[in-house]
């Protein structure tokens, strides 16, 4: 028995006791009282118990409570009690928050909302389309932990599985479409199909994750190829521009030509009217004169003749009168010539053989 006590003494690092004497007071310096020691120990135990028997569940969480390793229930938000000393354990799971996983990019927490180009994580974002072209896709999967127990105890790594499946599904969906479809009109369908398939997988694995939404971010051709895609857009616009220019030119020229045509016709009509009217006028005048002529033909004839010559002869430059049998004609209007051309010789006469 004393051996045991010595052993215990050694363990407890007490100085070995001599004969049992009651040593009240402090004559021998600091004494070790078992009562004090165990009292302190007990106090510590109580504190520890208190510490490990109370827990708080935040509003966005639930707590999975295990007793000696076995799940006994889920605790709602608030203050709760459990068995101390780790007999009961509480694991906190954020079931009320919408969580997200990003693919092909990462959101820097406070600065830029997200990367500008899908160049940050090419391993995640590069994939093949159905027509075997390369494309870069950035996307986000929004999910929630719908079953806290399954999330903790269905799979070892549910979040990693979510990521792996998301990549696999996205590549399957994109690989089942033509590249230009993915780049343009197929985005919504791709996002919906991906969400459905990822959710189906999560349900099959029963890992407590519920996929809420899949959102495509940037979907672009690889950087080296992008200028060529832009070139196509530019060329398409150039086509439109050329066609518009030509159409506009035609739309300006044709009405103008119509106008010119109408004017030509109007001018012709004007000429026609004028000609016919003038003809009518002349004809009428002739008819009138003719009627008068018919009454006194000889007189009219002589009158007309003389009137005409009276008007004409003064205007004529030179008149030469020819008489039968004469070799040279007589200039009738010699004087006039002399008047008109004072610088010339007065006796100048045009001689005609």
């Amino acid at each position: 028995m004393s051996d045991a006590r010595d052993l215990i003494d050694q363990i407890l690092k007490r100085r070995p006791r001599g004969p049992r004497t009651i040593t009240p007071g402090r004559n021998e310096g600091p004494t070790f009282e078992p009562k004090t020691f165990f009292g302190v120990l007990a106090a510590l135990l109580v504190v520890w118990a208190a510490w490990t028997s109370v827990y708080t569940v935040q509003p966005e969480e639930r707590a999975v409570i295990k007793r000696l390793g076995r799940v006994t229930g889920i605790a709602d938000p608030g203050l709760h009690f459990k068995l101390p000393f780790g007999i009961d354990t509480a694991q906190f799971v954020a079931t009320e928050r919408v969580l997200k996983q990003e693919f092909g990019f990462r959101t820097a927490s406070s600065e830029t909302p997200r990367s500008q180009f899908a160049g940050g994580y090419p391993d995640e974002s590069l994939m093949l389309t159905g027509d075997l072209n390369i494309i870069q896709v950035e996307w986000v999967v929004q999910y929630q932990i719908s079953d806290a127990v399954q999330f903790l105890y269905g799979m070892r790594e549910p979040t990693k599985t979510l990521r792996d499946l998301s990549e696999s599904v996205m590549r399957r969906v994109v690989g089942n479409r033509i590249g230009s479809d993915v780049l343009t009109v197929g985005r919504i369908e791709i996002a919906n199909t991906a969400r459905d398939e990822i959710q189906e997988a999560m349900a099959r694995y029963d890992n407590g994750i519920r996929v809420i939404a899949v959102q495509l971010q940037d979907v672009v051709p690889p950087p080296r190829v992008q200028p060529a895609f832009n070139e196509v857009n530019e060329a398409r616009q150039e086509l439109e521009r050329m066609v518009n220019d030509a159409t506009r030119q035609a739309n300006e020229a044709i009405p103008r030509a119509d106008g010119t045509a109408k004017r030509t016709i109007s001018e012709a009509e004007g000429y026609a009217t004028e000609r016919v009217n003038r003809a009518r006028g002349e004809a009428a005048r002739f008819s009138a004169v003719l009627t008068e002529y018919r009454t006194v033909p000889e007189v009219t004839r002589a009158r007309l003749y003389l009137e005409a010559l009276t008007n004409v002869l003064p205007k004529i430059g030179s008149v030469v009168v020819v008489q039968d049998g004469q070799l040279s004609p007589l200039p009738l209007l010699n004087l006039r010539d002399a008047q008109r051309l004072p610088q010339k010789a007065p006796e100048k006469t045009p001689v005609k053989p």
Partner: protein, 314 residues
């Protein structure tokens, strides 16, 4: 005091004994009691407190949950000799811990086997398949009406056909091959998925160049179509302009011709009543064209001079 000490010591002893005989199986675990190297009893799957003999019995724990396997990224040539990078993942579970313990002892050993089997299964299946079959799924369908004209033109006949198997079936094939080739180590491979497929680095450049030239030819086609259509519009415009102006000309000439004809008719009707008088009066009118530049030679016998020498007129 002595009693308290002994009570405490007693508690400590009880505690020590308990830690050697009681053990907790977590919700996530299944356990086997091993005695001197050999398993005893059934697999313990129920979580909670369990008992064993101290010192001679130990507990081996195994994960009860669905586990992940992530393959190495490997370069595999397809049936069409295109080298691609394939990254597979799989889900598996320890279904028979006894067998598991006997054959591979722990997860590290299992993972080695999984690496071998799954990598080779993936390689077998991929190298026996064309790239289109791996990328596309069984419900591959090209809706040509949704594509732009130039993209539809870039498609080939083969692109419009359904793949024989498709991605989903291939993944099932890899799983089936792996399951067949996996020795019985007490696990179940639940599924295999292709996580990533890509061209290898050197091929990527070629494919990108192909994409670039494809786009460039589409752009060139747009431009030349623009040229063609604008030329067509301008040509039609020219044609229309010619038609308008020539028709106007024709119409004008018709009008003028009709007017001339009518004038002629009017003149004819009028002057035709007395052609001789017409000739007379018209000729007289035309004498007024004789002007300063004219030299007129006139016979002395003309009527104008009739009364010059006598009043009776010769």
């Amino acid at each position: 005091m002595k009693n308290i000490t002994y009570i405490v010591l007693g508690l400590v002893a009880v505690l020590l004994v308990t830690t050697r005989t009681a053990f907790v199986v977590d919700q996530a675990e299944q356990a086997i009691i091993v005695q001197l190297g050999e398993p005893v009893g059934d697999v313990i799957t129920a979580p909670g407190l369990h008992w064993r003999l101290p010192f001679i019995q130990n507990v081996r724990r195994f994960d009860k949950r669905l586990l992940d396997w992530d393959g190495d990224v490997s370069q595999i040539p397809t049936l069409g000799r295109e080298f691609i990078i394939v990254d597979t993942t799989a889900r598996w579970r320890i279904t028979d811990p006894l067998q598991f313990l006997r054959s591979v002892r722990d997860e590290a050993g299992a993972r080695t086997r999984l690496d071998d089997v799954l990598d080779s299964a993936a390689r077998d299946v991929v190298s026996g398949t064309e790239l289109e079959e791996i990328v596309r799924s069984a419900d591959w369908q090209v809706d040509v009406s949704r594509l732009s004209v130039e993209d539809a033109a870039a498609l080939e006949e083969a692109d419009l056909q359904r793949p024989k198997k498709g991605r989903g079936q291939l993944e099932k094939d890899i799983l089936a091959t792996a399951v067949q080739q996996m020795p019985n180590i007490g696990i179940e491979i639940v599924d295999v998925r292709i996580k990533r497929i890509n061209y290898i680095e050197s091929v990527r450049g070629q494919v990108e160049s192909r994409m670039i030239s494809e786009r460039q030819s589409i752009a060139a086609r747009f431009r030349s179509e623009g040229e063609g259509r604008s030329q067509e519009i301008l040509g039609n415009m020219e044609k229309e302009l010619r038609r308008i102006s020539s028709e106007a000309e024709r119409r004008a000439q018709e009008i003028i011709g009709a007017a001339d004809a009518q004038a002629t008719k009017i003149f004819g009707e009028a002057y035709g009543r007395d052609p001789a008088f017409y000739a007379f009066s018209k000729t007289l009118e035309s004498y007024s064209t004789l002007g300063e530049n004219t030299t007129l030679m006139i016979d002395a016998k003309s009527d104008f001079f009739k009364y010059l020498e006598s009043t009776s007129g010769r």
